[in-house]
Amino acid sequence: MTRKQQRTLIIVGALVFLGMAVGLILYALRDTLVFFYTPAQLSEKLAQGKVSPGARLRLGGLVAKGSVKLNDDGIIRFVITDTAKDVSVTFKGILPDLFREGQGVVAEGRLQPDGTFVADTVLAKHDEKYMPREVAEELKKQGLWQHGDERAKGPEAIAPAAASTSSTY
């Protein structure tokens, strides 16, 4: 093999490989992406036909007060609300620590044809304000954020805000 052929072979091989890698990445992205919605966004997407029952998604909002019910069969029912819309959620398993009524939650699972949501994972990951970040942001956008600026009092007010507290590293 001449030097030129050798280089061509290596370059073509690399390109073919690159194409395969890109294909793999795109395929994996298509199949494993999970969208995050609040109940209001979900009903909007449903109306637009952009989400259909059976789709895997993350639903975030507040656990409606007084909505958590434990059945004898071990299935837990609760309502996720963003105060504009509600979605009933069923979940079989142990709820995470810090799951509380009136506080933020993210449920991952599938939407059912009857409009309820069957979660297989319930996350209550949050900072000290008991609110998952996505939920807090959505609530702020909708003008429903009520926790006020407690942190602005005290010495902090005179300095740049502290770095993110939700990062654990």
């Binding site: 793999l24 990445i25 994996a28 992406l33 000290e128 740049p160 770095a163 654990t168 590293y169």
Partner: protein, 662 residues
């Protein structure tokens, strides 16, 4: 007073860093030996100044000086002494200072240990190091100073406390190790930029870059392993890797650095793959920068974090754009000046190392895209949120890494220039037999799924392949024992490093596959006296009691563990709530190590049905940490290699033909 002196020292250090950038680079450009020689004293002075500033901040932490804003925000007087020290870098501002401190340490090391480097190359390397230092110091001094004071009339009596999750020995060492890895790649980066400026890369360049890359890689490996170990026993979810963006941020430079480690060998031994290696050096450090900043700026969790802190955000973007964009631009215009030499067949040691590089690069790209895709999506759609989770990473990364593990034992046995796979497989007969045996035994005796059996076989293949290569090298069973011992004693450090690191990787694979395939978990709510059966153990929950620690309150869940009706252990799993304003509780896992794996108990909240208890059995998970330890140990042995220290001055090598298989 000390704080003000520290601040002042940092500003001086910035001036010195700028000097260290401009003067030697200009000197190298003008070929003025006097100006170039000034790089070394500048590096030394800068190190002293940065050390002083860093020590001043540590001092403030140790003495709980709450008149310093940064100390007040992140410390508490009741914290144990060790966490007062480590609290210094458990926050954004302090960790940036630690970063610069480690950078100045590496710069000093380059200045001290490269007496044999040509003067112009040395001046340029130190100049580039100085420019990195300048950018970071400017960032700290202008928008991220840890030395801000609280006005005297408002000084609080008590601090807000450190994030309790971080009050842990492994995590105390995690950031310094990680940063030593990130910063270590800056040396390779500086060498690459210097080479582009000089328009010359030769085998000597490869030899100079290798030990620095290896040092960075070793630290980074240790840092990632510590972080993963911490996540395992501290987060209480029984996992050790979550494909979290924060983890990926440290994994990307590791992957790129591993590729660099291997391609630099080809540069040194064969004077080939030069432009590619230079590019990899630039990429490895770029990922280090991205990793540092993305984690520390909070951008990874949301692009909104940028809007919260626009000054820092913009500054960070500017630094990233300057170093990544600038270096790639320089590469684009100068790379063609590096002469391409060294021919090789696709089937050869070079070919195998190239394939290693291609696979590692593709894996890095897959992790990169998966990590940043949610951010890009959010930015493009104006707030739409998506998650790219473990399924994506397992599919892409897994698919790319399997062929890498398959070729791993073959590569080191292939000769340079042209090889023959059949001949190599002949030398791996033992490993092949063991691999097939492992596959068959896992399927039949251990009742593994086909996937798990395949994974175990792959791990065995890598370990056995590494050992068989070593055995062949020392002529085990082929030469008299005396000769074997002599060959073992004279085996160079870099060869030990390869054997240990490759075998360690195989052990890690075994740990991952076994702990994933046979993991058992029971998540349930228990009343006192309640029992859980798992992996032949019976875990009895005795109840919960309250306890107090030095700076926390704890609920202790008491457990008794029985095996075959006999009590084998009494264990406590705690939930701790720390003093200060960070009210987030942390979990202390009850962890018992047995020959076949770990029994892992974590308590959760009290519910109507009882106390939430998570019990896991993690089979052979110890292999994961042991394998990582082997890799780190291998890295350190490699650093001791004589060739990296002695005879560095020889620029040409005629040993290529004399040494057939290394």
């Amino acid at each position: 007073m000390i704080i003000e002196l520290g601040h002042f020292a940092l500003v001086l250090a910035l001036a010195v860093a700028l000097y260290q950038t401009v003067v030697p680079l200009y000197g190298a450009h003008r070929n003025d030996a006097r100006l170039m020689a000034l790089a070394v004293p500048a590096a030394f002075v800068q190190f002293l100044l940065v050390s002083f500033a860093f020590a001043a901040l540590v001092h403030a932490y140790v003495h709980s000086d709450f008149s310093v804003l940064n100390v007040w925000q992140n410390s508490h007087s009741a914290k144990p002494f060790i966490y007062k020290i480590t609290g210094t870098w458990a926050n954004h501002e302090g960790s940036m200072l630690l970063w610069v401190f480690i950078l100045s340490l590496f710069t000093l090391a380059v200045a001290a240990f490269s007496g044999n480097l040509p003067l112009s190359l040395k001046a340029r390397v130190l100049g580039v190091q100085g420019s990195i230092s300048s950018a970071f110091l400017l960032y700290i001094v202008t928008v991220s100073s840890p030395f801000v004071r609280i006005p005297p009339d408002r000084v609080p009596l008590e601090g807000q406390g450190m994030n309790p999750l971080l009050q842990d020995p492994a995590l105390a060492m995690h950031p310094p190790m990680l940063y030593a890895g990130y910063v270590g790649f800056s040396v390779a980066f500086a060498f690459a930029i210097a080479a582009l400026m000089e328009g010359r890369v030769d085998s000597a360049w490869g030899r100079w870059v290798r030990p620095w890359t290896l040092a960075a890689w070793t630290f980074l490996t240790a840092g990632i392993a510590l972080g993963s170990w911490w996540a395992y026993y501290e987060l209480g979810w029984g996992g050790w890797w979550f494909w979290d963006p924060v983890e990926n941020a440290s994994f990307m430079p590791w992957l790129a650095g591993t590729a660099l480690l291997h391609s630099a060998i080809v540069v040194e031994k064969r004077n080939a793959l030069k432009t590619w290696t230079v590019l990899l050096a630039l990429i490895a450090f770029s990922f280090s920068l991205i990793g540092t900043f993305l984690v520390r700026s909070g951008v990874l969790s949301s692009v909104h974090a940028f809007a919260v802190d626009p000054e820092r955000g913009t500054f960070i973007l500017a630094i990233l754009a300057f170093f990544i964009g600038g270096s790639l631009f320089l590469y684009a215009i100068r790379a063609n000046t590096l002469k391409i030499e060294g021919r090789f067949d696709p089937i050869s040691r070079e070919g195998a190392l190239l394939l290693n590089n291609v696979l590692l690069s593709a894996a890095t790209a897959a992790v990169f895209i998966g990590t940043l895709f949610p951010l890009i999506y959010e930015a493009v759609t104006g707030g739409g949120k998506i998650t790219v989770g473990a399924p994506y990473f397992n599919l892409t990364f897994g698919t790319l890494i399997i062929p890498l593990l398959v070729i791993l034992p073959v590569g080191p046995l292939l000769p340079w220039k042209r090889g023959n796979v059949k001949a190599v497989l002949g030398r791996l007969k033992g490993a092949l037999v063991l691999t097939v045996l492992a596959f068959a035994l896992s399927l039949t005796l251990l009742d593994a799924s086909v996937r798990a059996a395949f994974g175990i076989a792959l791990g065995v293949w890598v370990v056995a392949g590494a050992l068989e290569e070593w055995a062949g090298r020392v002529m085990l069973f082929r030469a008299p024992l005396k000769v074997v011992f002599k060959r073992i004693a004279s085996m160079p450090g870099s060869m030990w490093a390869m054997t240990l690191a490759h075998a360690g990787l195989g052990v890690v694979v075994l740990g991952i596959v076994m702990s994933t395939a046979w993991k058992q978990e029971r998540i349930t709510a228990l009343q006192p006296g309640g029992k859980v059966q798992i992996a032949g153990f019976e875990v009895v929950y005795k109840g919960t009691r309250k306890a107090t620690g030095p700076n926390y309150l704890a609920e202790q869940g008491l457990f008794e563990i029985y095996r075959d009706g006999r009590k084998v252990a009494e264990e406590i799993s705690e939930k701790r709530t720390f003093l200060g304003r960070r009210g987030m509780p942390t979990t202390e896992v009850a962890l018992m190590h047995y020959a076949l794996g770990d029994l892992y108990i974590a308590i959760g909240d009290q519910t109507k049905m009882g106390r939430t208890v998570r019990v896991y059995f993690q089979p052979m998970i110890q292999l994961l940490w042991f394998g990582a330890l082997l890799m780190v140990f291998g890295g350190f042995i490699g650093l001791l290699d004589r060739r990296f220290r002695v005879g560095v001055a020889e620029r040409t090598e005629s040993r290529l033909v004399a040494q057939p298989a290394e």
